[in-house]
């Protein structure tokens, strides 16, 4: 008898997630914004992965100087659009230092994706931990953690990140860390809300009655059920992390030269706007497209996974 009871819910649990994820996948793919977002991000990931193959030059190689290009010849030169045979082809042109912009933009995709994921991963890890502890423990621990989160949320994110970068010294990793710290309260709040709504449910009470440890309940029962809002928030969070890190790099507080990072490329060549606008526009478009991709996918995920928004 007890054997049947133990196995029956097990069967149900093992059958459910497969259907749930399949249904969720179908719902996500039915969203137009998610479709567009996925196309953009697939292209971005492919470019980032294949950067060493796609990039025709090393990102920091001053090829334009070796080729003897003059200041007037820095603009994009594409054979199909009439670039003369005697001039070397650079589809996105070269920068002031003679570096191929296409190669730098392609390598920039790697940098932005890596730092975007790392930043949000860090914020989700710490935020989830703090939110779980706050929601699970309750009382003064909950109060202390959440009031600290309130204080962090009371700052305009970029301004606090700038202050933190000052502490850590300018640099890409430190900029990512600063943006990550500023984003922690968002995930802590999401996680705490999920924990509070789930911890009194019957299946959690049942696990407790069966003698499962608090950490086991948290990791096996609560966290998997709180994943949906975290995935949605995390996807949108990558967009803002890429944007904010690019902003810090633009100000000279994030990625440092000669690293090919889109924000830093725009910041360093901003004074060339009047003579070589391609140095601003091309990394700018790459940056906007990546952020757009994550925003659209995040919107699609939210619409598909949050039943309250289904209309």
């Amino acid at each position: 008898m007890s054997h049947e009871i133990m196995t029956a819910p097990g069967d149900t649990i093992s059958a459910r997630p497969a259907n749930m994820w399949r249904d969720a996948g179908r719902d996500i793919l039915a969203q137009r914004s998610a479709q567009v977002g996925l196309v953009i991000l697939s292209a971005l990931f492919a470019i980032a992965l294949a950067a060493p193959i796609i990039a025709v030059h090393e990102p920091n190689d001053p090829v334009g100087i070796a080729e003897g290009l003059t200041a007037q010849q820095r603009g994009p030169c594409i054979r199909l659009l009439g670039c003369p045979e005697e001039r070397p082809e650079h589809i996105f042109g070269v920068d002031r230092n003679g570096r191929d912009v296409f190669s730098r933009v392609v390598h920039g995709a790697r940098v932005s994706l890596w730092i975007g994921f790392a930043t949000v991963g860090f914020a989700i890890f710490v935020g989830t931990l703090l939110g779980s502890v706050a929601g699970f423990a309750g009382g003064w621990i909950d109060n202390l953690i959440m009031r600290l989160m309130d204080v962090l949320l009371a700052f305009p994110a970029l301004v606090l990140a700038i202050a933190i970068v000052t502490v850590l010294e300018p640099g890409l990793v430190n900029a990512g860390l600063a943006i990550g710290v500023v984003a922690i309260p968002i995930y802590a709040r999401v996680m705490r809300a999920s924990v509070l709504s789930i911890k009194e449910r019957d299946f959690v009470t049942a696990s407790r009655a069966l003698g499962e440890s608090p950490s086991g309940i948290l990791l096996r029962r609560i966290v998997p059920n709180a994943l949906t809002p975290l995935i949605v928030q995390g996807t949108l969070g990558i967009a803002s992390a890429i944007l904010d890190i690019a902003a810090l790099s633009f100000l000279g507080l994030g990625a440092q030269p000669p690293l090919a990072e889109w924000g830093s490329m725009i910041g360093l060549d901003r004074n060339q706007l009047f003579t070589d606008p391609h140095l601003i526009l091309i990394p700018g478009v790459a940056l906007s497209l990546s952020v757009l991709g994550f925003n659209l996918l995040g919107d699609g995920l939210r619409d598909a996974l949050d039943p309250r928004l289904n209309r």
Binding site: V151, V159, L160, I164, T166, L287
Partner: protein, 376 residues
């Protein structure tokens, strides 16, 4: 019987006591947050690695000079003592002295905050008015060309960084359109040769001293306000022309978010039964959407407008840097690069306090907009 009677009694005596209780509670809840902000700002600034003396006086500064420097700015005291001194200074309105420039941070604030406030509120007004207008138009004509264009535009707007958009606007309006009437200045506050007369001169208050002088100087540095109230029309037009591009660049992200929230909130409301009733009564579509729909859909929009101030204050750092405007944001960036403890600390604190206070006002406005909130 008792509960409904209590509610109706409080209503019959007017909603002032409920509103007062609501405002008092909100103000009291803000105090611990403000204390937390002071603590975080102090903690962040004082655990800075590196030597502020070498940063301010140069790498070749002798140990003797550095000792004098640390003593002068209280950097040789233990951290708890420094915090005590900091709190005591703050209570007297003293935000410290810039290590790199040697001027009080409060003086820098009087000179530079007005520009940031003017830029931020101009951008906020632009974002709120256009955002609500576009959101309403999109919701009222769901799935039409207006709706699709607004939502595509909003998605692009949210995804375009302020600094890319700012540079793009400079390129279009200062380079591409330079020989047309649509040309706009690429930076600065006023054209060379155009000068603004300070309020102290306009009002014959050149002898004014003390806190009143600071207040008058503060408003004097708000060029739009100053030129408007003193009738300096040429300066007003010039200052406005200089503010358009930065404000548009700064407003685009909040504008896009406001348009999206207005649309989705209004669509929610337009699906309610009472809207069907309003339509069945024969009310015009305009009246249904604006009076019955928007009025009930505005609360989440107000929340977003309040929260937008955060992105506007942060965006101002970038906008000021692009358009060569010496406001609060640019001063913070310069201070970070110069490792100027006092300036980073003071200006981050002021920015956070402005943000918290504006959100307090937004919270209080909920009580006016939705009576259910103040009765909770």
């Amino acid at each position: 019987m008792a509960a409904p009677f209590r509610v109706s009694a409080s209503r019959s005596s007017g909603y002032t006591p409920a509103m007062l209780r609501f405002i008092t509670r909100r103000v009291l809840l803000t105090i611990p947050v403000l204390i937390g902000i002071v603590f975080v700002v102090f903690a962040v600034a004082r655990i800075l690695p590196g030597d502020p003396c070498k940063a301010a006086l140069g790498e070749r500064a002798t140990e003797a000079r550095c000792a004098l420097f640390r003593e002068r700015f209280g950097l040789d005291e233990p951290i708890p003592v420094q915090f005590g001194i900091y709190l005591s200074d703050l209570s007297r309105g003293d935000l410290g002295t810039s290590i790199s420039q040697g001027v009080p941070v409060s003086d820098m604030l009087v000179q530079r905050l007005p520009l940031t406030l003017e830029l931020t509120f101009f951008a906020l007004a632009l974002a709120a008015s256009l955002g609500i207008l576009l959101g309403v138009a999109a919701a009222a004509r769901r799935n039409s060309a207006v709706d699709v264009a607004t939502m595509v535009g909003a998605n692009l707007g949210i995804s375009t960084p302020v600094f890319v958009l700012g540079l793009l606007l400079i390129f279009i309006f200062a380079v591409v359109l330079r020989d047309t009437p649509f040309v706009l200045p690429p930076g600065g506050r006023l054209t060379a040769g155009v000068t603004i007369i300070p309020l102290t001169e306009s009002w014959g208050l050149t002898e004014l001293e003390g806190p009143l002088r600071i207040v008058v100087d503060f408003f004097s540095n708000m060029y739009l306000l100053n030129s408007l109230i003193t009738g300096q029309w040429e300066v007003l037009g010039d200052a406005l022309r200089h503010l358009i591009l930065p404000a548009v660049a700064l407003a685009t992200i909040p504008l896009s978010i406001i348009a999206r929230i207005t649309r989705s909130s209004l669509l929610d409301v337009l699906g309610q039964d009472y809207i069907r009733t309003a339509r069945a009564k024969g009310l015009s579509e305009q009246r249904v959407v604006l009076r019955h729909g928007l009025r009930n859909a505005i609360l989440p929009v107000v929340t977003v407008i309040g929260l937008s101030l955060g992105s506007l204050l942060a965006g101002a750092v970038l906008t000021e840097s692009i358009f060569g405007l010496t406001g609060l944001g640019r001063t913070i960036t310069d201070a970070v690069l110069a490792r100027d403890y006092a300036v980073v600390q003071g200006l981050t604190l002021v920015t956070a306090v402005i943000y918290v206070l504006v959100n307090l006002i937004v919270d209080i406005s909920y009580g006016y907009l939705d009576p259910r909130i103040r009765l909770q």
